[in-house]
Symmetry: C2
Subunit: 241 residues, 2 copies
Amino acid sequence: MPNTSPQHIVRSYDDDLKRLLEMISRMGGLAERQVADSAQALMRRDTELAADVVQRDAALDEMEREVEAFCVRLLALRQPMAQDLRLIIACMKISQDLERIGDYARNGAKRAIVVSQQPSLGSFNGFARMAEMVQENLKDAIDALVEGDAAKADAVWAADAPIDGIYNGIFREMLTFMMEDPRNITSATHLLFIAKNMERIGDHATNIAERVHFAVLGKMLTEERPKADVSASAVVRPPGE
Amino acid sequence: MPNTSPQHIVRSYDDDLKRLLEMISRMGGLAERQVADSAQALMRRDTELAADVVQRDAALDEMEREVEAFCVRLLALRQPMAQDLRLIIACMKISQDLERIGDYARNGAKRAIVVSQQPSLGSFNGFARMAEMVQENLKDAIDALVEGDAAKADAVWAADAPIDGIYNGIFREMLTFMMEDPRNITSATHLLFIAKNMERIGDHATNIAERVHFAVLGKMLTEERPKADVSASAVVRPPGE
């Protein structure tokens, strides 16, 4: 006979919030995996893994919709106030960031397929480091949310600048490859976009950290974030010019 | 003596929703202007206008925070249900899209400054058309929200494919410029990113349209959107190869 005692029928409000955090945690886990696999596909020239990443992206879109639907129900039925309300809104916005991170990982995976069919260009060391740092920031930002740990969120926020630094190095390296030999141009262009995608994933991890800070403390991280991506202003000259 | 009759003190719930739509409308207007000015700065080699765009971006960040704070108050004080709740949530998510659109416009403006200091590369016709179409979609998406017009939102959703088509053409054109002469590489790379930024602004306009559709009708636009950006898989060969 099914257990129909009231405590099993009526889920508590705390359980609802816990479930919401679990949903975001699961979504964050998938986003991290997409970022990791997209980078692995590039580095191992693994076109099957890249195709898997492209395929799996739809799951993140679906999860964003599930988070929204769950939050709408929570808002309508529980009418939360103050900190809980901030938390629910942060979760909805974070799911939007995670969905976008998935888009960047998918785009990177598509490009990894093209790059794998072109001649090699240098090492992937910079890409590997960027991917690791971005994944770590993303994981820490989601952990900060689940643990309600504003200090951890602030650490993510401060850790974005080195990622921008690596990106700037890759930008210059790729332009140099292009200038050395026009046959490098297709590959170097896709690699540039892959690096830019990772840099933007890092920005979204930072956005998530800002939202966690606000959800936990009720105050914005107002200070201007240390931003070190100067590549939008970069000029690289052909060798010998 | 100030007018203190109750109808002037207690703003009605409808007034609140109207004010929220006005906030989004104003934010959308600024985002459109940023996109337009970023494109104009490129086309006219106007570095002052580009610097204005970079400067003005902080206002969009601030507006996103204002929208969120207003929505939080609305949710806490009015405890809206069903369609109103969907509308408020859509507005919060749309403000996040508009903030991101601003980031792309700012990044494009920074790159326009670099491009203006480099030798000319072909015409800006493709960029001009892309910018116009993206602005129009953005404007229509916001109008659809304010007017509660799902059909208008659906039209925006369907109008993204031609933008992707122009982007694909620019991608190939820029790679060809790079292959013809290494001195074109810096400029062509920044132009590639500018075009990609516009394409992504177009994607965000489509996201906004999807959110409007859902807010108005309570149903997702589930059909897969016609997506015509194939540049992530593009291979361009050097001339004569």
